[in-house]
Symmetry: C2
């Protein structure tokens, strides 16, 4: 039998995700990754193939977790409350650094759109899945669920930009509440 693995793959991947999430793909160097993941070069390439492959894995992990947050905050029969819960759970019920980091999918789309079309496309697909979930949330409660989901996602994207621009908690709360009340009056 071989020598056993010494590190926790999930923990390492998590540390990598944090780094990619905050700094983006290009600005995150292998040296930084190795340091934060606390593994050596060899173990890195043995376990994750590539910087790029690891990034893809992190991106999908992030997307999955985001969708979990959305689903766990789901308020049956009340789409707007579901949206409110999602914003609440992603921008106030989390440590500040997560707010500052924004949304990894949005960050990736903007960073790599004209640099690495494939990675950018992957992030777009992940975001589309979130939007699809919102369509499902709005179904049977509004005339045009797809349009409603699209508007909510546009607001969401805007909010992630503001988050990353280091907007104060008060400003974010203001933006979220006013956009949601807008949706409320429209529905």
């Amino acid at each position: 039998m071989p020598r056993p693995i010494e590190f926790d793959r999930d923990r390492a991947r998590n540390a990598a995700m944090k780094l990619f999430w905050r700094q983006g793909y290009t600005a995150t160097s292998l040296a930084q990754l190795l340091e934060s993941m606390k593994i050596g070069r060899s173990s890195f390439y043995a376990a994750f193939t590539d910087k790029r492959s690891l990034f893809i894995e992190c991106l999908e992990l992030f997307a999955e977790r985001t969708r979990e947050i959305l689903e766990q905050g789901h308020v049956p029969q009340q789409p707007l409350e579901t949206a409110r819960a999602f914003f609440e759970n992603t921008t106030f019920a989390v440590p500040r650094w997560r707010v500052d980091a924004g949304c990894m999918m949005v960050n990736t789309i903007l960073e790599l759109s004209d640099v690495d079309a494939d990675l950018s496309r992957r992030a777009t697909v992940c975001l589309a899945r979130i939007e699809q979930t919102f369509v499902w949330v709005f179904e049977h409660h509004v005339d045009d669920p797809r349009q409603a989901a699209s508007v909510v996602m546009t607001l969401n994207k805007g909010i992630r930009v503001s988050s990353r621009a280091r907007a104060s908690e008060a400003e974010l709360r203001q933006v979220i509440s006013s956009t949601l009340s807008l949706l409320d009056r429209a529905a």
Copy 2:
């Protein structure tokens, strides 16, 4: 008298802006800049000091032009029409590559927030000036001009993300019209 300058500084800067706008700061290499600006290394450093200094110059140029678009599309007494004109003039009345490139300020904020705080902050300040212009647009026409401007800017940021995600013209039109009608009903 000295040897005369052989290149057009404004044209060169413009070419650089295009590149930074599309690829971001980090992903744009000096070699790419020199090629698209059609100048040599020496002329580059003589005329623009630095990659970083040039980026700042480009960012401010972009911000200035954006504000010009907003002001030129201004419809007196009709804030929402002003907003509509702004979206129209930035996403439909321009070549497709500009739409795909998104907003350079938004791109910069997301790319550099945790990498180069100063550049990110500069982009944030530029965006805030645009928002301030919207405050002025809404003044005397709604209860809370600052809030209205904030909402419009949130939608704007969201739309820039969608643009960069290669959304079709139809999708963009849909998002813009539905968000604007939302604002309309709320006002």
